[in-house]
């Protein structure tokens, strides 16, 4: 049905500034890399930190993407999102530990098979928890931000305690699967194999998500719903059902992020999700609430900055990211990729 128009339409000449404006946020990523290179000087350290920063960014993006859509669609602030990260990590890592035969084999194929099993389990577990969380905790407080913050934080504490009950009070250490241990030497720099895998995997998820949002009907409904949920309903779509689906999908992705983060840190704790939420919220805010692309760019910036500054002066890593948030909000108060919202 997409018949092309017969002639070349114009919408008036956009100024050069307007035409470049949408590309500024993504340009910040290489710019930050460049600044990092100047500040760090040693190219091999810079290389290692950059890959590590990108890997971290991808994982934070995976955790944050659902949160930004949940906010965009229904104005719901979920401070309990970290619970899905932790639960996903515990379920996934438990599966991985039970598949010692696969993870111990020096075969990339078998290792990835084990990781995939862990991911599927984590996503199902976190998704199911998300469904329950939405029904029991979030639904009664639609439209009331303060209550949302309080009850979702409360919900997260309950889930963390449940993890302690089920898995015991100690942190769990894990070894990465055989083929993902160690590093490549690339241009004299050590690049951990697992981080590279995380980058590739994160990119895949981002582009898959972008494709769904741009080219499928459900994607259109979600994008339209972020801008004007009432109109989506008035066209005949049950917005609440769409929202629940996004909530579940977002929780499942957070669980996936949890498994990846666990393998990255090689240790998991019940509080890991809650601790990560500070960075996740920074990413969601600087990206622009409701924007998946903004969230992606924001996550890469935060991951890179965290690693560069962490190398130069570990105490300043988190502060630098809060500084980044302040700067970006001074520049674009609605975040880097502002989403038009009717309400």
């Amino acid at each position: 049905m997409s018949t092309a128009p017969q002639h070349n339409p114009t919408l008036g000449q956009a100024s050069l500034k307007d035409r470049f404006a949408p590309y500024i946020p993504i340009a910040l990523v290489p710019l930050l890399m460049l600044v990092g290179m100047v500040a760090i000087q040693a190219p091999s350290s810079w290389m290692t930190l950059t890959v590590s920063g990108l890997a971290m960014g991808m994982m934070i993006f995976i955790m944050a993407s659902g949160l930004t859509l949940v906010f965009g669609l229904m104005d719901v602030i979920n401070f309990g999102h970290g619970a899905f990260v932790s639960v996903g990590a515990f379920i996934g890592i438990s599966i991985l530990l039970s598949l010692g035969a696969l993870t111990g084999a020096p075969s990339l194929f078998l290792n990835i098979l084990a990781i995939l099993a862990a991911i599927v389990g984590a996503m199902i577990g976190a998704g199911a928890l998300g469904w329950a969380f939405e029904r029991v905790i979030v639904k009664p407080v639609y439209g009331a931000h303060l209550k949302q913050i309080l009850v979702t934080m409360g919900g997260m504490i309950v889930v963390e305690q449940l993890i302690l009950v089920l898995w015991g009070p100690d942190e769990i250490f894990i070894n990465r699967p055989e083929a993902l241990k160690g590093a490549f030497i690339f241009l004299g720099a050590a690049v951990e194999k697992y981080r590279l895998l995380a980058v590739v995997f994160g990119l895949g998820i981002f582009f898959a998500m972008r494709w769904v949002l741009r080219h499928t009907k459900i994607g259109l409904i979600v994008r339209a719903g972020v801008e004007n949920g009432e109109m989506v309903k008035a066209l005949g779509y049950p917005l609440r059902l769409v929202f629940i689906s996004i909530f579940i999908a977002g929780s499942a992705l957070a669980g996936l992020g949890g498994v990846m983060w666990g393998l990255y840190q090689e240790v998991i704790t019940a509080h890991m999700g809650g601790n990560l939420m500070v960075l996740v919220f920074i990413v969601v805010i600087i990206g622009g609430l409701g924007s998946v692309e903004g969230c992606f760019i924001g996550a890469l910036l935060v991951g890179l900055l965290q690693n560069y500054v962490g190398f130069l002066d570990p105490k300043l890593a988190l502060v630098s990211n809060i500084g980044l948030m302040v700067l970006i909000l001074m520049w674009r108060p609605q975040g880097m990729v502002p989403v038009v919202r009717a309400k």
């Binding site: 049905m1 997409s2 018949t3 092309a4 128009p5 002639h7 339409p9 919408l11 009907k217 259109l220 409904i221 994008r223 339209a224 801008e227 004007n228 009432e230 109109m231 989506v232 309903k233 008035a234 066209l235 005949g236 779509y237 049950p238 917005l239 989403v339 038009v340 009717a342």
Partner: protein, 240 residues
């Protein structure tokens, strides 16, 4: 009226804690155009939104084709063939014109025939088919909003001030398109501040004041009675 497609009986509605509609009674006859008139703030938009279920009627009943839809969710009401053009147009500006139309065609993809009809009424939509709807001019956005309502087979159109803020030439395009829709036998409930357009399109007329309908009757009766207009709406008719 037995030929009413839509009927509101003593409808009360609140917006947050405010009482906005205090007993609206309204009959919208099938196959005709009913104009909802009244001063700013009289409750016209609230009436349309309440029919769509975007505000809850807390008393009274709303019947569509003999079915009680008072407590139905908005999506359900839309699915029964109600096309809604809100006062703010409700365009998805991040989506292209094509994507806006694709979303509006809920039950089946747009047929070529329907697209041709829409393009005939609103040529700019064809020109800007693949442009972001947010880049359209105000008039083009209004065209898109009405076109979206036309993307499906409808038994009722609810149209809120389709000529608001538009240049005279575009108002004519809009009026012509709506007149075409009317000629095809559509049932329309429309809010209109431009009295010329209201006169041109309207068969019936209901005037609101302070959350109630204070007068109903044939459009031409109101059109011919300047004193009545003055009394009901405080209209000072510009020379035209």
């Amino acid at each position: 009226m037995s030929n009413s497609l839509l009927s509101l009986k003593d409808v009360h509605a609140n917006i947050h804690q405010y009482n906005i509609l205090h007993g609206v009674n309204l009959e919208v006859p099938k196959g005709e155009v009913t104009m909802l008139l009244g001063r700013n703030g009289a409750g016209k938009t609230t009436t349309l939104r309440t029919i769509m279920g975007l505000w809850q009627a807390h008393a009274g009943t709303i019947e569509l084709a003999g079915m009680d839809v008072t407590r139905q969710p908005t999506a359900q009401i839309a699915k029964q063939g109600v096309g809604y053009v809100p006062e703010d147009m409700g365009i998805f500006s991040d989506l292209t014109v094509e994507e806006n139309m694709r979303l509006a065609a809920v039950s089946a993809p747009l047929s070529q025939e329907r697209m041709d009809r829409i393009f005939l009424a609103f040529p700019p939509l064809k020109t800007f088919w693949h442009s972001a709807a947010g880049n359209l001019s105000g008039g083009q956005k209004q065209m898109l909003s009405i076109a979206r309502a036309m993307a499906e087979e409808r038994q009722l159109y609810l149209i809120d001030e389709p000529t608001k803020g538009l240049a005279p030439a575009i108002i004519n395009t809009m009026a012509a398109a709506l007149s075409e829709l009317k000629a095809k036998g559509a049932t329309i409930l429309m809010v209109e501040q431009n009295f010329e357009v209201a006169k041109y399109l309207g068969d019936h007329c209901a005037v609101m004041e302070d959350g109630k309908i204070i007068w109903t009757g044939p459009m031409n009766e109101l059109a011919q009675d300047n004193e009545l207009q003055e009394r009901l709406m405080g209209l000072n008719m510009e020379a035209s």
